[in-house]
């Protein structure tokens, strides 16, 4: 067995991995063709999702759930930004060094916790909280399952990840910089703000990676968003996302002529969107690594 034999043997799984990806995209494309030939660009302008026995009456529009996905994900990363930045500063600057591992273990456990349990937790704790808040704000007949609930649950899900990324970059800032900041007499919070500005690209990239996760998350979101097909404008009313639409309708979709294909198209659009944001996030992450190393 010579060197090239090893390479040939090892390349088989690599090629397999590559062909899985290609097949995945091809299948999504192929399965979305029927709905596209049937509806054409109307799939972007219709604001209803109507699976009917009579194929002529079927109407599908993917914009409301797509807007729902974006809305939920943007809310989620806004909350997550707030949570993870304060967690980072808290762990790095405020909490006693020896006790840090407690918080770190908690975050670590949370980051691998099953998503369906996030959903169940949101359903039992966050939904009633949001309902009370909404009632105070003057809403009547709200269940509490809404865009904002999904955003909150997702932000708790993303925050451990983004905290881990931001924290590791925060800890990488060279000591000479910290000393320079300290020698100017900066307070702890001032120091934290300066360091956070230095690692700003890392923060943005961790949040963009979180955005990819938030857009693709299915079970937790479906349990707390209320699953109403509408163009989501009011954050306290139930809506749906692309993933919750798939989770709710895919099981029965093959009974109708076009619904299966419409859901595949929705999945394709979702995949394109989430990979776009992850790609930008990754590019920024590479850049921020160079910045803290002082290579800029």
């Amino acid at each position: 067995m010579n060197r090239d034999m090893l390479r040939i043997m090892l390349s088989i799984p690599g090629v397999l991995l590559l062909s899985i990806d290609i097949l995945l995209i091809l299948v999504l494309f192929k399965e979305s063709i029927p709905v596209f030939t049937y509806e054409g660009l109307r799939i972007f302008t219709e604001f209803q999702w109507n699976a009917a026995e009579d194929p002529a009456k079927e109407v599908y529009g993917i914009i409301p759930p797509l807007v729902g996905s974006m809305y939920v994900a943007i809310l989620a990363i806004m909350f997550a930004a707030f949570f993870s930045i304060s967690l980072t500063v808290f762990i790095q600057e405020i909490f006693p060094y020896r006790a840090r591992f407690v918080i770190e273990e908690l975050i670590n456990v949370a980051s691998t916790f099953p998503t369906v349990l996030y959903g169940l937790w949101g359903l039992t704790l966050i939904v009633p909280l949001v309902r009370q808040l909404a009632v105070k704000l003057g809403y009547v007949n709200v269940t509490g399952a809404s865009i904002v609930t999904a955003g909150l649950v997702l932000s708790i899900m993303i925050a451990p990840y983004s905290t881990a990324i931001i924290k590791s970059v925060y800890a990488c800032v060279p000591l000479s910089y910290i000393e320079a900041i300290a020698s100017l007499g900066a307070t702890k919070i001032e120091r934290a703000i300066i360091v956070l500005r230095m690692i700003f690209p890392a923060i943005v990239s961790s949040l963009l990676l979180g955005f990819g996760r938030a857009v693709g998350e299915t079970t937790a979101v479906t349990l707390v968003i209320g699953n109403a097909y509408r163009l989501p404008l009011d954050p306290f009313l139930p809506a749906s996302t692309v993933t919750s639409l798939i989770a709710n309708n895919f099981g029965m979709a093959t009974y109708y002529k076009y619904e299966y294909s419409a859901l595949m198209f929705a999945a394709l659009v979702l995949l394109i969107t989430s990979s776009f944001f992850s790609y930008i996030g990754l590019r920024l992450a590479n850049r921020s690594v160079r910045i803290v190393r002082g290579e800029q």
Binding site: L18, L117, I156
Partner: protein, 279 residues
């Protein structure tokens, strides 16, 4: 007190408040299923692990026997499919870096990890379930294996990458060919890292719901072999928590405590094991 120290105090307060909120959230997230679930399990007794779910609306919640079997077989199968592929790909990317296939395979693995897991499920549905005309344990295992494959690639590559170059030089200087260097020197050296990867793969397969939603079927009342429908624990929680029946909701809570317990202990073990690797 000057303005700067007042700002400092306000910043402190804001940070402590928001950290309090998120830590409380995470703590309740972890503790709620444990408390609710253990109560159900204690009430039900050993029957929780040895029976099938009760009929809706009955007094007792029944048990998760068949789901436990289904979970175990499906996860093992998924890891058995994904791990060898992920392992060999990881070795290739580490051993032949900068080659065209390595770069492509790495991007492919990264792309796969970014695909929302529900899409992996409907991909297997479109290719395997529609072809065989039924949901099955194998279909569930296939979609789970797609979900864990990219993570094994990264884990294996990382655990080989951290080995200092001198060990490789030493092996080559003894005249070992490359494949012996890789499989008899480098891999055994960081066996722990690779086992951590294996364990992470198990944990991920264990806790994923979305890939198996439409592929594994929902057979909670029996085990129908590899070719028949099956179920996993997250799937049971998902299906039964949404029902209006009190005893089924209890069953979901009981199952979720098992889910939480396994997830917590595995992630603690993984973190501890991953920390101790030194060269």
């Amino acid at each position: 007190m000057n303005l700067r120290s007042i700002k400092n105090e306000i910043g402190f307060l804001l940070i402590v408040l928001s950290v309090g909120v998120i830590l409380l959230a995470i703590f309740s997230l972890i503790i709620v299923p444990l408390i609710f679930g253990f109560k159900v399990i204690i009430e039900t007794g050993p029957a929780f692990f040895t029976t099938a779910p009760a009929a809706p609306g009955e007094e007792i919640p029944g048990g998760i026997y068949y789901t436990l079997i289904g979970s175990f077989v499906m996860i093992s199968l998924a890891v058995a499919i994904a791990f060898p592929i992920g392992f060999l790909t990881g070795v290739y990317i580490n051993e032949y870096p900068q080659t065209r296939l390595a770069i492509l395979a790495e991007s492919a693995s990264h792309f796969l990890s970014e695909v929302p897991s529900v899409i992996l499920g409907i991909f297997i549905y479109a290719t395997y379930v529609l072809a065989t005309k039924k949901t099955s344990l194998i279909a569930g295992a296939l979609s789970l294996s797609l979900a864990i494959l990219p993570y094994t690639v990264v884990q294996v590559r990382e655990s080989l990458r951290v080995i200092p170059f001198i060990y490789r030089e030493a092996a080559h200087s003894l005249g070992l060919p490359k494949w012996k260097t890789v499989f008899f020197v480098l891999v055994p050296m960081n066996m722990r890292g690779i086992l951590v990867g294996l364990l992470s793969a198990f944990l991920r397969a264990f806790s994923e719901t979305a890939p198996v939603l439409f592929t594994a079927g929902a057979a909670f009342y029996g085990f129908y072999g590899l070719d028949g429908p099956s179920s996993t624990l997250p799937l049971l929680v998902w299906n039964f928590a949404k029902t209006p029946y009190e005893n089924w909701q209890k069953l979901a809570w009981g199952a979720s405590s098992i889910l939480a317990l396994v997830s917590i202990s595995l992630s603690l073990i993984i973190r501890k094991a991953a920390k101790e690797v030194r060269f």
